[in-house]
Symmetry: C2
Subunit: 301 residues, 2 copies
Protein backbone atom coordinates (compact mmCIF):
# COMPACT_ATOMS: atom_id res chain seq x y z
CA UNK A 1 0.00 0.00 0.00
CA UNK A 2 1.15 3.58 -0.13
CA UNK A 3 0.52 7.23 0.65
CA UNK A 4 -0.01 10.02 -1.84
CA UNK A 5 1.38 13.35 -0.70
CA UNK A 6 0.46 16.52 -2.57
CA UNK A 7 1.62 20.00 -1.65
CA UNK A 8 4.15 22.68 -2.36
CA UNK A 9 7.85 22.19 -3.06
CA UNK A 10 9.80 25.35 -2.42
CA UNK A 11 13.16 26.96 -2.09
CA UNK A 12 13.17 28.85 1.22
CA UNK A 13 15.20 31.68 2.67
CA UNK A 14 14.85 31.57 6.45
CA UNK A 15 16.09 34.09 8.99
CA UNK A 16 16.14 33.30 12.70
CA UNK A 17 17.41 35.67 15.39
CA UNK A 18 20.84 34.01 15.16
CA UNK A 19 21.18 32.75 11.56
CA UNK A 20 20.19 33.32 7.93
CA UNK A 21 19.98 30.45 5.45
CA UNK A 22 19.18 30.66 1.73
CA UNK A 23 17.92 28.25 -0.96
CA UNK A 24 16.79 25.65 1.53
CA UNK A 25 14.55 22.82 0.41
CA UNK A 26 11.10 23.64 1.79
CA UNK A 27 7.40 23.45 1.02
CA UNK A 28 4.61 21.41 2.59
CA UNK A 29 5.06 18.37 0.32
CA UNK A 30 8.82 18.23 0.86
CA UNK A 31 8.56 17.99 4.63
CA UNK A 32 5.48 15.79 4.53
CA UNK A 33 6.78 13.28 1.99
CA UNK A 34 10.16 12.81 3.66
CA UNK A 35 8.48 12.46 7.08
CA UNK A 36 5.95 9.97 5.66
CA UNK A 37 8.76 7.97 4.04
CA UNK A 38 9.90 6.79 7.48
CA UNK A 39 6.62 4.91 7.78
CA UNK A 40 5.21 4.07 4.35
CA UNK A 41 5.70 4.06 0.58
CA UNK A 42 5.28 7.61 -0.60
CA UNK A 43 4.13 9.01 -3.95
CA UNK A 44 4.83 12.72 -4.28
CA UNK A 45 2.65 15.01 -6.41
CA UNK A 46 3.91 18.55 -6.92
CA UNK A 47 5.64 20.94 -9.24
CA UNK A 48 9.14 22.39 -9.46
CA UNK A 49 10.91 24.59 -12.00
CA UNK A 50 13.82 23.65 -14.20
CA UNK A 51 16.08 25.35 -11.64
CA UNK A 52 15.23 22.75 -8.97
CA UNK A 53 18.58 21.55 -7.65
CA UNK A 54 19.52 17.97 -8.40
CA UNK A 55 20.62 17.38 -4.80
CA UNK A 56 17.08 18.11 -3.55
CA UNK A 57 15.67 15.64 -6.06
CA UNK A 58 18.25 13.09 -4.90
CA UNK A 59 17.11 13.62 -1.32
CA UNK A 60 13.58 12.51 -2.25
CA UNK A 61 15.03 9.53 -4.13
CA UNK A 62 17.22 8.58 -1.20
CA UNK A 63 14.00 8.33 0.83
CA UNK A 64 12.48 6.03 -1.82
CA UNK A 65 9.83 8.60 -2.67
CA UNK A 66 8.10 7.85 -5.98
CA UNK A 67 8.54 10.99 -8.12
CA UNK A 68 6.33 9.92 -11.06
CA UNK A 69 3.89 12.66 -10.02
CA UNK A 70 6.56 15.37 -9.73
CA UNK A 71 6.07 17.81 -12.61
CA UNK A 72 9.07 19.78 -13.83
CA UNK A 73 7.85 22.96 -15.55
CA UNK A 74 9.75 25.56 -17.55
CA UNK A 75 10.56 28.40 -15.14
CA UNK A 76 11.54 28.89 -11.54
CA UNK A 77 10.61 26.86 -8.48
CA UNK A 78 8.25 28.38 -5.90
CA UNK A 79 10.22 30.57 -3.47
CA UNK A 80 9.37 31.66 0.05
CA UNK A 81 11.26 33.76 2.56
CA UNK A 82 10.42 34.39 6.18
CA UNK A 83 11.78 35.54 9.47
CA UNK A 84 11.29 34.35 13.06
CA UNK A 85 11.02 36.54 16.15
CA UNK A 86 13.19 35.89 19.18
CA UNK A 87 10.66 33.52 20.77
CA UNK A 88 10.78 31.33 17.60
CA UNK A 89 6.97 31.09 17.65
CA UNK A 90 6.01 34.16 15.65
CA UNK A 91 6.92 34.06 11.98
CA UNK A 92 6.69 36.82 9.39
CA UNK A 93 6.55 36.02 5.68
CA UNK A 94 8.80 38.42 3.79
CA UNK A 95 8.34 37.33 0.17
CA UNK A 96 6.37 34.73 -1.77
CA UNK A 97 7.25 34.08 -5.43
CA UNK A 98 4.83 31.49 -6.73
CA UNK A 99 6.70 31.06 -10.04
CA UNK A 100 5.75 27.70 -11.64
CA UNK A 101 3.40 27.06 -8.73
CA UNK A 102 1.13 29.88 -9.92
CA UNK A 103 -0.39 27.77 -12.67
CA UNK A 104 -0.03 24.39 -10.98
CA UNK A 105 -2.88 22.07 -11.81
CA UNK A 106 -2.10 18.68 -10.35
CA UNK A 107 -2.28 15.84 -12.90
CA UNK A 108 -2.11 12.48 -11.22
CA UNK A 109 -0.35 9.77 -13.22
CA UNK A 110 -2.57 6.67 -13.47
CA UNK A 111 -0.67 4.61 -10.85
CA UNK A 112 -1.15 7.41 -8.28
CA UNK A 113 -4.92 7.41 -8.62
CA UNK A 114 -5.63 4.33 -6.56
CA UNK A 115 -3.31 5.20 -3.64
CA UNK A 116 -5.24 4.23 -0.50
CA UNK A 117 -4.03 7.01 1.81
CA UNK A 118 -3.92 10.64 0.78
CA UNK A 119 -2.35 13.66 2.40
CA UNK A 120 -3.52 16.91 0.90
CA UNK A 121 -0.67 19.04 2.20
CA UNK A 122 -1.02 22.74 2.73
CA UNK A 123 -1.94 24.22 -0.69
CA UNK A 124 -5.02 26.02 -2.00
CA UNK A 125 -8.19 24.04 -1.23
CA UNK A 126 -9.11 24.26 -4.92
CA UNK A 127 -6.01 22.21 -5.77
CA UNK A 128 -6.72 19.82 -2.92
CA UNK A 129 -10.17 19.23 -4.45
CA UNK A 130 -8.65 18.76 -7.93
CA UNK A 131 -6.47 15.99 -6.55
CA UNK A 132 -9.36 14.23 -4.86
CA UNK A 133 -11.39 14.45 -8.09
CA UNK A 134 -8.75 12.31 -9.78
CA UNK A 135 -8.56 9.67 -7.02
CA UNK A 136 -10.39 6.35 -7.08
CA UNK A 137 -12.05 6.11 -3.68
CA UNK A 138 -9.11 6.43 -1.31
CA UNK A 139 -9.42 4.67 2.07
CA UNK A 140 -8.52 7.70 4.17
CA UNK A 141 -7.99 11.34 3.26
CA UNK A 142 -6.07 13.75 5.48
CA UNK A 143 -5.81 17.48 4.74
CA UNK A 144 -3.78 20.26 6.24
CA UNK A 145 -4.58 23.93 5.69
CA UNK A 146 -3.51 27.40 6.82
CA UNK A 147 -4.86 30.83 7.73
CA UNK A 148 -4.31 32.18 4.20
CA UNK A 149 -6.88 29.77 2.71
CA UNK A 150 -9.36 30.51 5.49
CA UNK A 151 -9.05 34.18 4.55
CA UNK A 152 -9.07 34.00 0.76
CA UNK A 153 -10.65 30.64 -0.12
CA UNK A 154 -13.05 29.77 2.67
CA UNK A 155 -15.91 28.54 0.42
CA UNK A 156 -13.59 26.06 -1.33
CA UNK A 157 -12.20 24.93 2.01
CA UNK A 158 -15.72 24.31 3.33
CA UNK A 159 -16.48 22.41 0.10
CA UNK A 160 -13.46 20.21 0.78
CA UNK A 161 -14.37 19.32 4.37
CA UNK A 162 -17.05 16.66 3.64
CA UNK A 163 -14.52 14.76 1.53
CA UNK A 164 -11.99 14.44 4.36
CA UNK A 165 -11.57 11.81 7.03
CA UNK A 166 -9.18 13.94 9.07
CA UNK A 167 -8.59 17.69 9.05
CA UNK A 168 -5.37 19.01 10.57
CA UNK A 169 -4.98 22.68 11.46
CA UNK A 170 -3.53 25.07 14.04
CA UNK A 171 -5.45 26.22 17.09
CA UNK A 172 -5.75 29.79 15.80
CA UNK A 173 -6.92 28.49 12.43
CA UNK A 174 -9.52 26.24 14.06
CA UNK A 175 -10.90 29.27 15.92
CA UNK A 176 -10.77 31.41 12.76
CA UNK A 177 -12.55 28.88 10.55
CA UNK A 178 -15.20 27.82 13.07
CA UNK A 179 -15.80 31.17 14.75
CA UNK A 180 -15.68 29.27 18.06
CA UNK A 181 -13.09 30.65 20.53
CA UNK A 182 -13.07 27.38 22.50
CA UNK A 183 -11.03 24.55 20.92
CA UNK A 184 -13.43 21.79 21.95
CA UNK A 185 -16.32 23.67 20.39
CA UNK A 186 -14.21 24.53 17.34
CA UNK A 187 -13.35 20.86 16.80
CA UNK A 188 -17.01 19.90 17.10
CA UNK A 189 -18.01 22.58 14.60
CA UNK A 190 -15.35 21.40 12.15
CA UNK A 191 -16.45 17.78 12.48
CA UNK A 192 -20.03 18.84 11.85
CA UNK A 193 -18.87 20.13 8.48
CA UNK A 194 -17.53 16.78 7.34
CA UNK A 195 -14.37 15.16 8.68
CA UNK A 196 -14.87 12.39 11.24
CA UNK A 197 -11.61 13.40 12.94
CA UNK A 198 -10.01 16.77 13.63
CA UNK A 199 -6.44 17.25 14.88
CA UNK A 200 -5.75 20.71 16.28
CA UNK A 201 -2.05 21.52 16.52
CA UNK A 202 -1.06 23.83 19.37
CA UNK A 203 2.60 24.33 18.42
CA UNK A 204 4.84 23.99 21.45
CA UNK A 205 1.78 23.01 23.50
CA UNK A 206 0.99 19.81 21.60
CA UNK A 207 -2.05 18.47 19.83
CA UNK A 208 -5.74 17.85 20.50
CA UNK A 209 -7.42 15.03 18.54
CA UNK A 210 -11.20 14.91 18.44
CA UNK A 211 -13.84 12.49 17.17
CA UNK A 212 -17.56 12.23 17.87
CA UNK A 213 -17.10 10.26 21.08
CA UNK A 214 -13.42 10.39 21.92
CA UNK A 215 -10.67 12.92 22.52
CA UNK A 216 -6.92 12.72 22.98
CA UNK A 217 -4.41 15.34 24.11
CA UNK A 218 -0.65 15.14 23.95
CA UNK A 219 1.90 17.79 24.84
CA UNK A 220 4.59 18.56 22.28
CA UNK A 221 7.93 16.87 22.71
CA UNK A 222 9.80 19.41 24.88
CA UNK A 223 12.82 20.88 23.14
CA UNK A 224 15.59 22.82 24.76
CA UNK A 225 16.74 24.32 21.49
CA UNK A 226 14.50 25.29 18.55
CA UNK A 227 16.62 26.12 15.51
CA UNK A 228 13.94 26.49 12.81
CA UNK A 229 10.32 25.41 13.24
CA UNK A 230 9.55 25.82 9.51
CA UNK A 231 7.87 22.63 8.28
CA UNK A 232 7.06 21.24 11.72
CA UNK A 233 3.34 21.23 10.89
CA UNK A 234 3.98 19.63 7.49
CA UNK A 235 6.16 17.01 9.16
CA UNK A 236 3.34 16.35 11.60
CA UNK A 237 0.81 15.88 8.79
CA UNK A 238 3.18 13.78 6.67
CA UNK A 239 4.02 11.46 9.54
CA UNK A 240 0.37 11.07 10.40
CA UNK A 241 -0.53 10.04 6.85
CA UNK A 242 2.57 7.87 6.50
CA UNK A 243 1.78 6.04 9.72
CA UNK A 244 -1.57 4.91 8.25
CA UNK A 245 0.40 2.86 5.74
CA UNK A 246 1.89 0.77 8.56
CA UNK A 247 -1.34 -0.79 9.75
CA UNK A 248 -1.74 -3.04 6.75
CA UNK A 249 -5.09 -1.86 5.45
CA UNK A 250 -6.90 -2.27 8.76
CA UNK A 251 -9.53 0.11 10.09
CA UNK A 252 -8.29 3.60 10.89
CA UNK A 253 -9.67 3.71 14.41
CA UNK A 254 -9.30 6.46 17.01
CA UNK A 255 -6.60 4.37 18.72
CA UNK A 256 -4.64 4.13 15.46
CA UNK A 257 -4.84 7.91 15.11
CA UNK A 258 -3.68 8.42 18.71
CA UNK A 259 -0.55 6.44 17.95
CA UNK A 260 -0.15 8.35 14.70
CA UNK A 261 -0.38 11.66 16.59
CA UNK A 262 2.40 10.54 18.94
CA UNK A 263 4.64 9.56 16.01
CA UNK A 264 3.83 12.90 14.37
CA UNK A 265 4.59 14.85 17.54
CA UNK A 266 8.00 13.21 17.79
CA UNK A 267 8.87 13.65 14.10
CA UNK A 268 7.87 17.33 14.20
CA UNK A 269 10.26 17.85 17.11
CA UNK A 270 13.19 16.66 14.98
CA UNK A 271 12.26 19.12 12.23
CA UNK A 272 12.45 22.02 14.69
CA UNK A 273 16.02 21.20 15.64
CA UNK A 274 17.64 22.10 12.33
CA UNK A 275 17.04 24.10 9.16
CA UNK A 276 15.11 22.71 6.20
CA UNK A 277 14.73 18.91 6.31
CA UNK A 278 18.10 18.45 8.00
CA UNK A 279 16.54 17.36 11.28
CA UNK A 280 14.79 14.48 9.49
CA UNK A 281 17.06 13.19 6.79
CA UNK A 282 19.57 11.30 8.93
CA UNK A 283 17.19 9.98 11.55
CA UNK A 284 17.39 6.34 12.53
CA UNK A 285 14.51 4.20 13.78
CA UNK A 286 16.35 4.19 17.13
CA UNK A 287 16.38 8.00 17.31
CA UNK A 288 12.62 8.04 16.80
CA UNK A 289 11.97 5.22 19.26
CA UNK A 290 14.11 6.87 21.93
CA UNK A 291 12.13 10.08 21.69
CA UNK A 292 8.81 8.20 21.72
CA UNK A 293 9.90 6.37 24.87
CA UNK A 294 10.91 9.68 26.44
CA UNK A 295 7.60 11.34 25.55
CA UNK A 296 5.74 8.42 27.12
CA UNK A 297 7.85 8.65 30.27
CA UNK A 298 7.25 12.40 30.41
CA UNK A 299 3.48 12.10 30.23
CA UNK A 300 2.53 8.86 31.98
CA UNK A 301 1.57 8.55 35.61
CA UNK B 1 -0.53 15.96 60.00
CA UNK B 2 -1.55 19.19 58.35
CA UNK B 3 -0.84 21.97 55.89
CA UNK B 4 -0.20 25.59 56.68
CA UNK B 5 -1.51 27.97 54.03
CA UNK B 6 -0.50 31.61 54.09
CA UNK B 7 -1.55 34.22 51.55
CA UNK B 8 -4.01 36.97 50.82
CA UNK B 9 -7.70 37.00 51.64
CA UNK B 10 -9.57 39.48 49.52
CA UNK B 11 -12.89 40.80 48.38
CA UNK B 12 -12.87 40.79 44.59
CA UNK B 13 -14.83 42.57 41.90
CA UNK B 14 -14.53 40.59 38.68
CA UNK B 15 -15.71 41.55 35.21
CA UNK B 16 -15.81 39.02 32.39
CA UNK B 17 -17.03 39.78 28.87
CA UNK B 18 -20.49 38.55 29.87
CA UNK B 19 -20.86 39.25 33.59
CA UNK B 20 -19.84 41.51 36.48
CA UNK B 21 -19.68 40.28 40.05
CA UNK B 22 -18.86 42.24 43.18
CA UNK B 23 -17.65 41.48 46.71
CA UNK B 24 -16.60 37.95 45.88
CA UNK B 25 -14.42 36.00 48.27
CA UNK B 26 -10.97 35.93 46.69
CA UNK B 27 -7.26 36.04 47.46
CA UNK B 28 -4.55 33.41 47.14
CA UNK B 29 -5.06 31.93 50.61
CA UNK B 30 -8.84 31.64 50.20
CA UNK B 31 -8.62 29.54 47.04
CA UNK B 32 -5.59 27.59 48.24
CA UNK B 33 -6.93 26.73 51.67
CA UNK B 34 -10.34 25.58 50.45
CA UNK B 35 -8.70 23.52 47.66
CA UNK B 36 -6.23 21.99 50.14
CA UNK B 37 -9.09 21.15 52.52
CA UNK B 38 -10.28 18.45 50.12
CA UNK B 39 -7.05 16.58 50.82
CA UNK B 40 -5.64 17.52 54.21
CA UNK B 41 -6.10 19.39 57.48
CA UNK B 42 -5.56 23.04 56.77
CA UNK B 43 -4.36 25.89 58.96
CA UNK B 44 -4.95 29.29 57.44
CA UNK B 45 -2.69 32.27 58.14
CA UNK B 46 -3.86 35.63 56.84
CA UNK B 47 -5.50 38.90 57.65
CA UNK B 48 -8.96 40.38 57.10
CA UNK B 49 -10.65 43.59 58.18
CA UNK B 50 -13.55 43.95 60.52
CA UNK B 51 -15.78 44.22 57.44
CA UNK B 52 -15.03 40.62 56.41
CA UNK B 53 -18.43 39.00 55.86
CA UNK B 54 -19.49 36.29 58.28
CA UNK B 55 -20.59 34.02 55.42
CA UNK B 56 -17.06 33.94 54.03
CA UNK B 57 -15.69 33.00 57.43
CA UNK B 58 -18.36 30.30 57.66
CA UNK B 59 -17.22 28.93 54.32
CA UNK B 60 -13.73 28.34 55.70
CA UNK B 61 -15.24 26.74 58.79
CA UNK B 62 -17.47 24.50 56.69
CA UNK B 63 -14.27 23.19 55.09
CA UNK B 64 -12.80 22.49 58.56
CA UNK B 65 -10.08 25.06 58.04
CA UNK B 66 -8.35 26.00 61.29
CA UNK B 67 -8.69 29.79 61.59
CA UNK B 68 -6.48 30.26 64.66
CA UNK B 69 -3.98 32.06 62.42
CA UNK B 70 -6.56 34.34 60.82
CA UNK B 71 -5.99 37.86 62.11
CA UNK B 72 -8.92 40.28 62.17
CA UNK B 73 -7.60 43.85 62.09
CA UNK B 74 -9.39 47.15 62.52
CA UNK B 75 -10.15 48.44 59.02
CA UNK B 76 -11.14 47.11 55.66
CA UNK B 77 -10.29 43.80 54.00
CA UNK B 78 -7.90 43.77 51.01
CA UNK B 79 -9.85 44.53 47.81
CA UNK B 80 -8.98 43.69 44.22
CA UNK B 81 -10.85 44.33 40.99
CA UNK B 82 -10.01 43.06 37.54
CA UNK B 83 -11.37 42.47 34.10
CA UNK B 84 -10.93 39.63 31.58
CA UNK B 85 -10.63 40.00 27.82
CA UNK B 86 -12.83 37.97 25.48
CA UNK B 87 -10.37 35.05 25.30
CA UNK B 88 -10.53 34.76 29.14
CA UNK B 89 -6.74 34.42 29.26
CA UNK B 90 -5.68 38.05 29.48
CA UNK B 91 -6.56 39.81 32.69
CA UNK B 92 -6.25 43.47 33.58
CA UNK B 93 -6.08 44.61 37.20
CA UNK B 94 -8.26 47.69 37.65
CA UNK B 95 -7.81 48.52 41.31
CA UNK B 96 -5.88 47.19 44.30
CA UNK B 97 -6.75 48.45 47.79
CA UNK B 98 -4.39 46.78 50.24
CA UNK B 99 -6.26 48.11 53.30
CA UNK B 100 -5.41 45.95 56.35
CA UNK B 101 -3.07 43.89 54.16
CA UNK B 102 -0.72 46.85 53.82
CA UNK B 103 0.76 46.35 57.27
CA UNK B 104 0.30 42.61 57.47
CA UNK B 105 3.08 40.92 59.36
CA UNK B 106 2.19 37.26 59.78
CA UNK B 107 2.32 36.07 63.38
CA UNK B 108 2.03 32.32 63.60
CA UNK B 109 0.23 31.02 66.68
CA UNK B 110 2.34 28.39 68.45
CA UNK B 111 0.37 25.35 67.17
CA UNK B 112 0.91 26.50 63.57
CA UNK B 113 4.67 26.56 63.87
CA UNK B 114 5.29 22.85 63.64
CA UNK B 115 2.98 22.21 60.66
CA UNK B 116 4.85 19.75 58.42
CA UNK B 117 3.71 21.07 55.03
CA UNK B 118 3.69 24.73 54.14
CA UNK B 119 2.20 26.60 51.21
CA UNK B 120 3.48 30.13 50.90
CA UNK B 121 0.68 31.39 48.71
CA UNK B 122 1.13 34.33 46.40
CA UNK B 123 2.11 37.28 48.63
CA UNK B 124 5.25 39.42 48.93
CA UNK B 125 8.36 37.23 49.26
CA UNK B 126 9.32 39.23 52.35
CA UNK B 127 6.16 37.96 54.07
CA UNK B 128 6.80 34.45 52.80
CA UNK B 129 10.23 34.59 54.44
CA UNK B 130 8.73 35.98 57.68
CA UNK B 131 6.46 32.93 57.84
CA UNK B 132 9.30 30.49 57.28
CA UNK B 133 11.34 32.22 59.97
CA UNK B 134 8.65 31.28 62.47
CA UNK B 135 8.36 27.63 61.39
CA UNK B 136 10.09 24.73 63.12
CA UNK B 137 11.73 22.79 60.29
CA UNK B 138 8.79 21.98 58.06
CA UNK B 139 9.03 18.75 55.98
CA UNK B 140 8.19 20.36 52.66
CA UNK B 141 7.76 24.00 51.65
CA UNK B 142 5.89 25.04 48.51
CA UNK B 143 5.75 28.65 47.31
CA UNK B 144 3.79 30.38 44.60
CA UNK B 145 4.69 33.80 43.27
CA UNK B 146 3.71 36.28 40.56
CA UNK B 147 5.17 38.77 38.06
CA UNK B 148 4.67 41.69 40.46
CA UNK B 149 7.18 40.27 42.97
CA UNK B 150 9.67 39.46 40.21
CA UNK B 151 9.45 43.11 39.21
CA UNK B 152 9.50 44.85 42.58
CA UNK B 153 10.98 42.32 45.02
CA UNK B 154 13.35 40.11 43.05
CA UNK B 155 16.18 40.11 45.64
CA UNK B 156 13.80 38.89 48.37
CA UNK B 157 12.37 36.28 46.01
CA UNK B 158 15.85 34.98 45.21
CA UNK B 159 16.58 34.93 48.94
CA UNK B 160 13.50 32.76 49.45
CA UNK B 161 14.35 30.18 46.76
CA UNK B 162 16.97 28.17 48.73
CA UNK B 163 14.41 27.66 51.50
CA UNK B 164 11.84 26.03 49.19
CA UNK B 165 11.33 22.43 48.18
CA UNK B 166 8.98 23.34 45.34
CA UNK B 167 8.50 26.61 43.50
CA UNK B 168 5.30 27.08 41.48
CA UNK B 169 5.01 29.84 38.89
CA UNK B 170 3.62 30.67 35.43
CA UNK B 171 5.55 30.09 32.23
CA UNK B 172 5.95 33.82 31.58
CA UNK B 173 7.10 34.33 35.17
CA UNK B 174 9.63 31.50 34.89
CA UNK B 175 11.07 33.17 31.79
CA UNK B 176 11.01 36.59 33.46
CA UNK B 177 12.76 35.46 36.65
CA UNK B 178 15.37 33.23 35.01
CA UNK B 179 16.02 35.27 31.89
CA UNK B 180 15.83 31.97 29.95
CA UNK B 181 13.26 32.01 27.13
CA UNK B 182 13.13 28.19 27.04
CA UNK B 183 11.04 26.59 29.80
CA UNK B 184 13.35 23.61 30.29
CA UNK B 185 16.31 25.94 30.73
CA UNK B 186 14.24 28.26 32.92
CA UNK B 187 13.28 25.37 35.21
CA UNK B 188 16.91 24.28 35.45
CA UNK B 189 18.00 27.83 36.29
CA UNK B 190 15.33 28.10 39.00
CA UNK B 191 16.33 24.76 40.53
CA UNK B 192 19.95 25.90 40.56
CA UNK B 193 18.85 28.74 42.84
CA UNK B 194 17.42 26.41 45.47
CA UNK B 195 14.20 24.44 45.10
CA UNK B 196 14.62 20.75 44.27
CA UNK B 197 11.37 20.87 42.26
CA UNK B 198 9.85 23.48 39.98
CA UNK B 199 6.30 23.38 38.62
CA UNK B 200 5.69 25.72 35.69
CA UNK B 201 2.01 26.42 35.05
CA UNK B 202 1.07 27.01 31.42
CA UNK B 203 -2.57 28.01 31.97
CA UNK B 204 -4.85 26.27 29.48
CA UNK B 205 -1.82 24.31 28.22
CA UNK B 206 -1.12 22.47 31.46
CA UNK B 207 1.90 22.11 33.70
CA UNK B 208 5.56 21.15 33.45
CA UNK B 209 7.18 19.62 36.56
CA UNK B 210 10.96 19.46 36.73
CA UNK B 211 13.54 17.93 39.07
CA UNK B 212 17.26 17.25 38.61
CA UNK B 213 16.73 13.97 36.80
CA UNK B 214 13.03 13.74 35.98
CA UNK B 215 10.35 15.72 34.17
CA UNK B 216 6.57 15.43 33.84
CA UNK B 217 4.14 17.20 31.56
CA UNK B 218 0.37 17.21 31.77
CA UNK B 219 -2.11 19.13 29.66
CA UNK B 220 -4.74 21.14 31.49
CA UNK B 221 -8.15 19.57 31.92
CA UNK B 222 -9.96 20.74 28.77
CA UNK B 223 -12.92 22.98 29.52
CA UNK B 224 -15.65 23.93 27.12
CA UNK B 225 -16.71 26.90 29.20
CA UNK B 226 -14.45 29.12 31.29
CA UNK B 227 -16.52 31.41 33.51
CA UNK B 228 -13.82 33.00 35.68
CA UNK B 229 -10.22 31.76 35.87
CA UNK B 230 -9.41 33.93 38.91
CA UNK B 231 -7.83 31.75 41.57
CA UNK B 232 -7.05 28.79 39.29
CA UNK B 233 -3.34 29.11 40.04
CA UNK B 234 -3.99 29.44 43.77
CA UNK B 235 -6.27 26.38 43.61
CA UNK B 236 -3.49 24.51 41.85
CA UNK B 237 -0.95 25.43 44.52
CA UNK B 238 -3.36 24.74 47.38
CA UNK B 239 -4.28 21.32 46.05
CA UNK B 240 -0.65 20.43 45.53
CA UNK B 241 0.23 21.30 49.12
CA UNK B 242 -2.93 19.67 50.46
CA UNK B 243 -2.21 16.46 48.61
CA UNK B 244 1.11 16.13 50.46
CA UNK B 245 -0.89 15.65 53.64
CA UNK B 246 -2.47 12.47 52.22
CA UNK B 247 0.73 10.44 51.99
CA UNK B 248 1.07 9.99 55.72
CA UNK B 249 4.46 11.55 56.28
CA UNK B 250 6.25 9.50 53.64
CA UNK B 251 8.94 10.83 51.34
CA UNK B 252 7.78 13.48 48.89
CA UNK B 253 9.15 11.80 45.76
CA UNK B 254 8.84 12.90 42.17
CA UNK B 255 6.07 10.31 41.70
CA UNK B 256 4.12 11.78 44.61
CA UNK B 257 4.43 15.23 43.06
CA UNK B 258 3.26 13.92 39.66
CA UNK B 259 0.09 12.66 41.28
CA UNK B 260 -0.25 15.94 43.15
CA UNK B 261 0.07 17.86 39.87
CA UNK B 262 -2.75 15.80 38.36
CA UNK B 263 -5.00 16.47 41.38
CA UNK B 264 -4.09 20.16 41.17
CA UNK B 265 -4.83 20.31 37.44
CA UNK B 266 -8.28 18.84 38.01
CA UNK B 267 -9.11 21.09 40.98
CA UNK B 268 -8.01 24.20 39.06
CA UNK B 269 -10.40 23.27 36.27
CA UNK B 270 -13.34 23.37 38.68
CA UNK B 271 -12.33 26.85 39.87
CA UNK B 272 -12.47 28.15 36.28
CA UNK B 273 -16.06 27.05 35.85
CA UNK B 274 -17.62 29.53 38.27
CA UNK B 275 -16.96 32.82 40.01
CA UNK B 276 -15.04 33.03 43.29
CA UNK B 277 -14.77 29.69 45.08
CA UNK B 278 -18.16 28.53 43.83
CA UNK B 279 -16.64 25.91 41.52
CA UNK B 280 -14.98 24.26 44.52
CA UNK B 281 -17.25 24.56 47.49
CA UNK B 282 -19.81 21.93 46.57
CA UNK B 283 -17.51 19.39 44.96
CA UNK B 284 -17.81 15.77 45.92
CA UNK B 285 -15.01 13.20 45.91
CA UNK B 286 -16.87 11.59 43.01
CA UNK B 287 -16.79 14.81 40.93
CA UNK B 288 -13.03 14.99 41.39
CA UNK B 289 -12.47 11.29 40.68
CA UNK B 290 -14.59 11.46 37.52
CA UNK B 291 -12.52 14.32 36.13
CA UNK B 292 -9.26 12.57 37.07
CA UNK B 293 -10.42 9.45 35.24
CA UNK B 294 -11.34 11.56 32.22
CA UNK B 295 -7.98 13.35 32.19
CA UNK B 296 -6.22 9.98 32.31
CA UNK B 297 -8.33 8.67 29.43
CA UNK B 298 -7.64 11.84 27.43
CA UNK B 299 -3.87 11.56 27.78
CA UNK B 300 -3.02 7.85 27.89
CA UNK B 301 -2.09 5.73 24.91
Amino acid sequence: MSVLVVGSIALDDVATPSTQRKNLLGGSASYASVAASFFGDVRLVGIVGTDFPENHRSLFEKHNIDLTGLEVAEGKTFRWSGEYEANMNNRRTITVDLNVFEHFSPKLPQPCRDTPYVLLGNIAPELQIEVLDQMEEPCFVVADTMDLWIEIAQPKLLELLPRLNLLILNDSEAVQLSGEPNLLAAARWLRSRGPEFVAIKKGEHGCYLSSRDREFITPAYPLESVVDPTGAGDTFAGTLAGYLDTIGGGEISFDVLKTAVIESTVMASFTCEDFSLNGLTNLSKEDIQKRKDHLRALTSY
